[in-house]
Symmetry: C2
Subunit: 271 residues, 2 copies
């Protein structure tokens, strides 16, 4: 998000500032910086307070904040539903698992499907699965406790850095929709996220940890019997793993260091 | 390339080994490793010798090498021409600047256009621009010296790590085509590559150094009068900048470190 804002901002010639929590990966900072955006790296124990602090001052400081739940972002996200409809030829999945933080993404996808339904283009909307990390799970915690209000999750971190909003502005609306439409909500441990990231990579997609939460959550929901084997689930994989290599530093790769002179020797040995 | 091979290999369930020169970035190695490929990091002063050493032993070792000039890769690359035709509605550019190393990419794009022409879908083929770094420029050096044979460029490195084939198998064929079709060839200095990478980023695309060579070369060709201001040039930007952050470490970003408590103070100061 910071990355796209910086890229589009520089392309459009708009002066852009990006506000980042201090635990943002160096990869993301480099990628944002090279586009020419001004970077503010903010020491904060929770991402929500930081966001709110900026949002609250936006008008006074005459800055236009592009953040989680703005109406224009929702319009953008909604194209996910349209593209999915086109690319599947209308053969939509039963569920769509979405890494959920400020809630803009899940709202946007749903809005797209609702518009397709209102236009009588589809009859049945896929159900959403709101996925969070166990460390920062304000929405999932509410659902699991049969509550309607947000249970803030502050002062904690997660390897899934892109979904660390502990007190999401749009959370209450999503909780309502989960009850109303029979959506699912699930949270996953750090260990499960790491495992899922490797699993998705072995399936051909190197995604960042936040995206990998989806596979971990769906696995749990299948084991709990909430999703049937016959049902089709789509995982929203939104971020490249290259954006946060720190999170994969513990994987052990088979790196063989070889001299060109003895290349034949080890290749034969490897047979 | 190593990355894609590892990703598709793991997805297809094919046992995959990736051979890399020792100067490959950690980012690329991580991305390849997580897909589960076996990695061979080879101490070598030049990439061409390393490739040839492996190619020469492929049959004996019963490995199928997916490398620069294989016919299947060319068939894949050729889809670039088809997609470009579709996406421009047939309004093709005059030139296509291609970072050129083993020559598979430029051959593939050309093959696509030739097939479109043979099928009478287009009348005129865009001209290619073979782009290399000055440090490793076997093709450009031949053209600039009015020669037909490859002038190997060995024992040198370039920030444009993805195009470091100093003795390309497919080079002679490309040299012939450059003369035959009036294509262009240009090489660029390390400094120009770095400058171009920043320029492209400010235009919204964070690409790796090898991709940035295209913009640097086109700038020079315009200054030399070889490309006219009225002509349309397409730059092939093939690789994400996130694959090699070492190459952008010298850019200075405006990183402001701020505490949440005094967020108002600096935002006001910034006005």
């Amino acid at each position: 998000m910071g990355n796209s804002t910086a890229a589009y901002g520089s392309r459009a010639g708009i002066k852009t500032a990006v506000f980042l929590p201090h635990y943002t990966s160096e990869e993301k900072i480099s990628a944002i910086g090279i586009h020419g955006a001004e970077i503010f790296k903010i020491k904060t124990d929770n991402y929500s307070d930081m966001k709110n602090a900026i949002l609250n001052r936006a008008e006074k400081l005459k800055i236009r904040v592009v953040s989680g739940n703005g109406p224009i972002r929702i319009e953008g996200y909604k194209s996910t539903a349209f593209e999915l409809f086109e690319q599947t030829g209308g053969n939509l999945p039963d569920y769509i698992a979405v890494p959920t933080s400020a809630c803009g993404h899940i709202r946007g996808i749903f809005k797209g499907f609702r518009e397709l339904k209102e236009a009588s283009i589809i009859e049945k909307m896929p159900k959403m699965i709101a996925v969070q990390s166990k460390n920062i799970n304000p929405i999932v915690a509410a659902i699991k406790n049969n509550r309607e209000d947000i249970i803030p999750a502050l002062n904690k971190n997660s390897i899934a850095e892109a979904i660390t909003t502990g007190r999401p502005y749009g959370g209450r609306e999503i909780i309502d929709k989960i009850y109303k439409y029979g959506w699912l909500a699930e949270d996953v441990s750090e260990e499960e996220i790491i495992r899922a990231q490797k699993l998705i990579a072995e399936d051909g997609f190197f995604v960042e940890a936040a995206s990998a939460t989806t596979a971990a959550a769906v696995k749990q929901l299948i084991e709990m019997g909430k999703i049937k084997a016959s049902e089709k689930v789509l995982l929203m994989l939104t971020g490249s793993g290259l954006k946060d290599l720190e999170s994969v530093k513990d994987y052990t790769y088979n790196i063989n260091k070889v001299d060109l002179d003895n290349i034949e020797e080890w290749m034969t040995a490897d047979e």
